[in-house]
């Protein structure tokens, strides 16, 4: 896990670790090899990041503003003392935890299923790729249409089948809407999670399972005491990756609910969007963005701590 900041024993590359004397001579080559990536990434991102940081410390309220006065951390304190902001943080946390939990749970089962040697497995694996390849914009619009209270396909289908006698509002109130949006996110993303986990599962040798089976462990037992522990590093990767993405969730909400109903799906990214773009409160928006990074960072660390394996942060 390259995302760890601790210094686990294994992060020292094996080839180099053995010959410490070469350290000095390796850095020019490392710099040369890293330079292209650093130019491509930092060259594009560091200036905007720095500018956003500066913006978060001043009083920018117009895209055309040229003179700024330094306002210290007041944008941050304004946000942190605003109950509305905390409400968006809470919603984002609920969205993140719920969607990652669903993605992880279903993804694990799905990976386990896709790892079985059954006939037609290529078909099932292709299915998974299919859901993943549908652009988010399309899947959000598709689900908006399927769940629509007035002309939704789900209502139509259930009514045609005689399972429903009047149209139902599937998106529901503010709380339900948040979970619905999280499920839509999970529909699109679980395949990625399953594929990542499947890849890791395939590295577990059959011999391990066979030994356990000989000791009399049932299928469930084998899954819980062999598969899951062996997958820990993969699970950590998935959790961190999905947490970063889920915390930044924007497209689905922009298309499906625009923050409603009753503010129920106003997540931190959508809140930032409203502040910075609709309202031109660039400084508040920038501060919200940096707080988002902070939350993501803390959550990632928590996950990594929780899932720390003996081998330290692998990969």
């Amino acid at each position: 896990m390259s995302l760890t900041l601790r210094r686990p024993a294994s992060t020292a590359p094996p080839a180099a670790g053995a010959r410490r004397g070469k350290v000095e001579r390796q850095w020019p080559l490392a710099l040369a090899l890293l330079a292209p990536a650093m130019i491509v990434v930092f060259g594009v991102v560091l200036y905007p990041m720095g500018r956003t940081l500066v913006l978060s410390l001043v009083d920018a309220t117009s895209a055309l503003q040229t003179a700024f006065s330094f306002s210290g951390l007041s944008n941050y304190t304004a946000l942190l003392s605003d109950s509305e902001f905390w409400a968006t943080v809470w919603r984002t946390a609920v969205f993140t935890v719920f969607s990652t939990a669903v993605e992880l749970a279903v993804g694990l089962l799905l990976a386990q299923f896709l790892n079985q040697r059954i006939r037609g497995q290529w078909f099932f694996r292709s299915l998974v790729v299919l859901a993943w390849a549908l652009p988010t914009i399309v899947s959000a619009n598709m689900w908006r249409w399927i769940l629509h209270p007035e002309y939704g396909a789900l209502n139509g289908l259930l009514m045609n089948l005689g399972l429903l006698d009047s149209y139902k509002d599937w998106v529901g109130g503010p709380t339900q809407a948040l979970f619905v949006v999280a499920l839509v996110d999970a529909w699109k993303t679980t395949p990625l999670v399953a594929i990542l986990l499947l890849a890791s599962m395939q590295t577990i040798g059959d011999d391990v399972y066979e030994a356990a089976a000989m000791d009399g462990a049932g299928a469930v037992r084998r899954f819980l005491s062999i598969t899951i522990p062996m997958l820990k590093p993969a699970i950590a990767v998935v959790l961190v990756l999905r947490t970063i993405e889920a915390f930044k969730v924007f497209d689905i909400i922009y298309i499906m609910t625009r923050g409603g109903p009753d503010s129920g799906t106003t997540t931190i990214a959508f809140y930032t969007y409203l502040k910075a773009f609709s309202n031109q409160e660039f400084s508040l928006g920038s501060a919200a963005a940096y707080l988002t990074v902070l939350f993501i960072f803390v959550l990632s660390l928590v996950y990594l701590r929780m899932l720390r394996t003996d081998s330290g942060g692998t990969a």
Binding site: M49, A63, E150, G259, P261, D262, F277, E281
Partner: protein, 431 residues
Amino acid sequence: MHSISRRRLLSLPLVLGAAAALPGCAVSGPSRGSGGSSGPVTLNALFMKQASYSEDDIRGMLAAFQKAHPDITVQPTFVAYEALHDKIVISAPAGTYDVVLIDCIWPAELAGKNMLLDVTDRYQQAWLDDILPGTLGSITYKDRRYGMPWIPGGKIFFYNTRMLKDAGVDETAMSTWDGVLEAARTLKAKKVVEHPLVWSWAHAEAMICDYAQLLGAFGGRFLDDAGKAAFHQGGGLQALEWMRRTLDEGLSAPSSTKLLEDDVKKVVVQGDAAIALNWDYMYSESNDPKQSKIVGELKPAVSPKGPGGQGPAVDGSMGLSVTATSKHPDAAWQLVAFLCGKDNQLQYVERSLPVWNSAYEDPKLTSGAQAPLVAADKAQYGSLIERPQVVQYNAVSQEIQAGLQSCLVGGTPAAQALSDAAAKVDRVIGG
């Protein structure tokens, strides 16, 4: 974490940021050249897709303009309405566009932040005498004009004449909101339609439009003369209570709190509601047999009146503005004047009505399929209500949206929902 020097870590972005802030700030408005008559000029203009004038219409207009002004080339850009505001704001420092299409709720914000060119002195008196007065609000801020109105329009009140007849309701009932309420009860009781009313009360700007129309009819105001929130008392409160009552009695479609204008249109043309507010495009679509089950049944009318006798429609006009960062303001203004001109507008009346009073005498408008809509529109232009004209409009609107939704969806009592929203609005405007 301790293995990284914290000081180094923190100083890096700071240094970069400080260095970055300088060039960033320098990208303020480019110096304004004389522009206009001398030499060939290229203008960039920002329009929207899929409403009123189509992309093809606008390209046709631009071709005509370029024929008349061979030295000016116009590069049009078309974006979705939803992306229009953000594009204008983000492109402002770079000065990407010379001419932009603006919605009537933005002049305060955009002009207040010096993004639009003040064109008050470029107006001719004859124009002011002829332009529909209600539409001028769409480009005016603090008595200065920042463009010309291009697409006039308030939300029109529509009802299904066949359904009213089936329920035995006289059309005169449609002249007051009380009458509408009674009619809706009758329509429901006689099982003509399950939910007689449908609205665009989703958590979005669309809801503010409907609310403004009712607030105006009930004699309320968004802000008082001192600029303080006033919608939480009097007419503003009554309007929300009225909205809530129609939901509680099952008169309004319960899904209304999730719907946008286009959803409302779909419900109405499917014959699933009898009465609704919408933009005028719903009329022609209701008469399009390909998607409508109520061809010939929908009637556009003047907005019903409230207890005080007023029945304003919410202003939904859009205008064309020259940006403050345009390097060719004269040429850009020529383009605006051409596009908004009466001659140009009269060529495309089937797409959008003109903003010129005298144009409504034209036979193209007084007869033909659109005539009933034109009549309703024209009668309504005298009575339009504006949404609050404040620089922080978007933030204000978000607070009111949240307040209305917390009453209609969350069940908060109307008075409390609105006074909470009013306090927040005061903070937004005051702070």
